[in-house]
Symmetry: D2
Subunit: 338 residues, 4 copies
């Protein structure tokens, strides 16, 4: 029973159907096809404001391309020390930006707090000897399963903008947060000051589809050139765009997010006092202890250890295609051992 | 009737079927799934030697990642002045290598000749003031539709290796050449000295699938880190790998290549004396003159001008899903006007 | 008797004196000292317009930093195929720009002609697949010893600006051209449309001092950050700035340039019909033939072969500290053998 | 009275004399001159082992070039969070390496402790998702004025080497440590496992001269190409090399270091309980409080605040050309106010 990652999931039938549907005849290449051309409209509707939307095939590409558009090579990127761009992308931001420096911040539950950001922003003196802070990058939901509230984002963005920084959001699990907060997608993005969003769909049911959303269209041209140059402009773009359209238009994003959120809540309730972080998306972090963790594995559950081995913590992730009885079994097991 | 590019084609039914087939249950992410794990074997069989094979989603990614593995930042990359890496990738090799310099060579029909390479290689003095030649990159079939013969490749590779250069082959239309020469895939790669191949499938019927093939496995680790860092390691890798497996195992590569080659030959015969380059794959370059070219467009044929506007040249590309009657119509039109 | 390069020369007494003169007491570091602070004024006077001037210690640094300020990573830089940035800087432009591509142009005597530039500029289609032409880089004097006339530069710049390109001038031997043309320094720079100049002093008598001159001050901030980041902001900047001030204010630049130009003309007259390029600075290129070249070496003259060994060409460079009798001896030898 | 930085100092008479001495006649350019050719020998003698030594003109260049030679673009560089490469080089390591990531460590007095390094090294999992730790970079003396002991360095290097990391030392104030510990230069470098040293001379009396010392000569070729490409190979190298030779051969390094160390100890005694860090070189950090700090400034002393404004800390740096009575005045002032 696999709780390793939502990346291990298959693609939704709706996604396969969408691929089948666009798979006829020749269509202009490199994004000039009718489906890719529809994305701006489609995402503008979703966010309730005019956006530019560009399909890519991985979250790392979405993040690193977005950051390269926002930061000069001598820029600094404030990010949580547990964030995907810091820990799981083999230095992609440094590569795409030409050497911008991550300025890592601590923070409970993967969140950057305003106080921490303010303190950190005080450090660089602004002269030529220093990295020039250029971007604040937030993860929504955080890598520890928590969600920023609109007000938190607005406060962080407000401070960032005052200092001339742009705000990027890594929304690999964006849908889960919208579902959890039951808010409008605009509430936690442009209305709260986010400039560019990495909009994730792959983890939540797509095959391989993410989008970079520019709430400020002026940035888009630079992005397009960087994307091409990075090998991330697909010749047959229709097949990624079709996934994104289906994801949005069939409501797939919400159905899947609601399901995985609900199941994660079930696990959270079973873990109860052993929970390490608030469960506000589809990830559950549990303090099991080394032995109980081993026991859970022997009972047939697959998952990743989290943090130092000796901490005995486990990360449990629910996928859109997770059989519900696996979750029931997990809950039962957790209740038994905790 | 579209003869713009094989990139405008749809994906083969076999490819869609393969996606459907692997689309069940959770599978390890980031290439640890069983399909991706099979690729080494699958391509080793195809090439008749042990290789390491890595799926990526674009030819630009395949080329630039391969070149970055082969060239230091201060390296020079010999390539034809009409080659895709020089003309159509927005500087991807410079980005991925950290600034290696393309050393562009002229040559008939998109081919680099041994004499030209030898003359060019004489130029850099080898001291620290010069770019250090590191790679010879060949395109097979060339960007002007011609094919290198095994002997030509061996001569070029032999010279390159003597000088300490590695040999990369951009095989965006590799299948067409194997079909045209009726040779073994090994004959125009490792047996002729090629070190790394960008193996194309997208233009020839896949949805979005290329592979980087290392004939020298020692280079693979560096490649894997660069791929991740470039956002080109897919979390749900199975969906690219499945395309590649289907492409090879169902014989799709050959069926499609033979079809598009055959139709290209039909067009070549119709164009006859107006041919600008030998037709040895699925691209046909024709000297039409500005007026006749205009006429052909008005007759309903879509294609790209080639070279300076005033040259009156046209590029006609046959796709795997090209209706044969479109080709017949084109042939008739060409005969009429030429 | 050394005619290898003006780089082999020593530093002028005026330069040493200037170092001695500023060598007292503590001074603000990193360019905040009074001498560095005077550079803007000093160079503004020299050029007859308000400029920003930044000292660096090598021509490669001046060129590459200037280009990085002018070109995005996906930019293209038009330059002569014999230019220093293409041939002698180990790929520095690619490194500093983050992978911009040199677009090399042929041209008589190291000059880029308007027609050649126009033809080359027609090639990139302007879409995302292409490198985006961003800079025209001219060398003054050219690497083959010729000088652009103000009108030529204006024509090239005019075309470049129309196309949205910036114009960079590599003035490693700038003083020689001003002396040769007997013009105002502004005539061959800002009045002719040059945006940024690499102003050379090292070859013409300084110890190690070049300056990057921005005729458009808006570009300077980005430059300053790149310079620091490249390790080219000197802590004890006064010692470079003092060289530049002495170079300009004592008229050293002109005295030395006039001397080396004059001696080069002597050699040119001696070489007569064997001259390969017009002698408009301090470099002389002579078609000697392999044997006579060998003879000249045996007679005690040191110089570099130029071009392919079998061409029998020689490059003879006059340094500011060249003993005049060495030049007389060379002239006599040339007359004897030619 | 300036205690801002040792960078504000002038150059020693011995240095000017050395420049004068080599300033005659033409000499081979780009490091082929006799003085630069002597550096390997000269530094090998200094360190008591065969080394390769390369002159550069700034500490940032020395550090960043060394790191680029030691780390792949996907590498991680462990360094103290207060280290010069992290704080004062505008991201130079990211630029030169092509995007390697600094992995910053806390530590008392600017020192990295073995325990901290071990804990940090446990974090990256070694798979392709992670930055690959490649280098440990230590500062000697630390940016807070402390010195690593040979045993500490050996322990850190031993652990680093076990993990496949190389060890770099930023020796901007290297001479001060050798003088303070009264040890052999080899004791805190190669005998303790250091692979590459940025050997500083500028802060300690040179005009503009640092050296990169490779204790493993195999790394040198890559370095030489990177140096050229970064614009850090001087055409007239003799003038930097002559500084380094004079610095070593006249015992200048030791005289100056002993003087500034001694004066720093005087200040340390005066500051007494207000000292923030052990004084083991020529920097003194004092907890003054905001008001007393202000008072000290009004009394005519110039220095930098250290850390957050409100901490009231001051950094006082002694230069080789500091008049001793300035130090006496400072000591008196400190005693008065503390």
């Amino acid at each position: 029973m696999r709780f390793l990652s939502d990346n291990t999931a298959s693609a939704c039938p709706e996604i396969l159907a969408a691929l089948q549907e666009v798979n006829h005849g020749r269509a202009p290449a490199y994004g000039d096809d009718e489906w890719t051309q529809r994305l701006d409209r489609c995402f503008s509707d979703h966010f309730g404001t005019a956006v530019r939307a560009f399909p890519v095939i991985s979250g790392t590409a979405a993040n690193a391309l977005a950051l390269a558009t926002l930061s000069p090579p001598y820029g600094g990127i404030f990010a949580h020390e547990e964030s995907h761009i810091a820990v799981d992308e083999c230095g992609a931001p440094g590569f795409f930006t030409g050497g911008a420096q991550l300025m890592l911040l601590p923070g409970e539950h993967g969140r950057v707090s305003l106080a921490t950001l303010q303190a950190a922003a005080r450090r660089p003196r602004g002269d030529v000897h220093n990295i020039q802070p250029a971007v604040l990058s937030l993860v929504q939901a955080t890598d520890l399963g928590a969600a920023y509230r609109p007000r938190e984002i607005a406060a962080l963005s407000g401070f960032a903008h005052e200092r001339g920084l742009k705000v990027h959001m890594d929304g690999a699990r964006f849908a889960n947060v919208v579902a959890f907060l039951d808010c409008h997608p605009g509430d936690i993005t442009w209305r709260a000051g986010v400039d560019v969003l990495s909009f994730g769909a792959t983890k939540n049911g797509a095959m391989s589809a993410e989008a970079v959303i520019f709430f400020d269209p002026a940035l888009a041209r630079d992005f397009e050139l960087r994307r091409k140059r990075a090998g991330h402009l697909l010749s047959k773009s229709r097949y990624v765009s079709a996934q994104l359209i289906a994801y949005l238009e069939t409501g797939l994003w919400k159905r899947n997010a609601e399901k995985t959120n609900r199941l994660a809540q079930d696990i959270a309730r079973a873990a109860n006092a052993a929970l390490l972080h608030p469960v506000e998306a589809n990830q559950v972090f549990v303090a099991l202890g080394v032995e109980r963790r081993q026991g859970l594995r022997e009972a047939g559950f697959e998952f990743y250890d989290w943090g130092p081995q000796s901490d005995g913590a486990a990360r449990l992730v629910v996928s859109w295609d997770q059989p519900e009885d696996e979750v029931h079994a997990l809950c039962a097991a957790l209740k038994r051992i905790l």
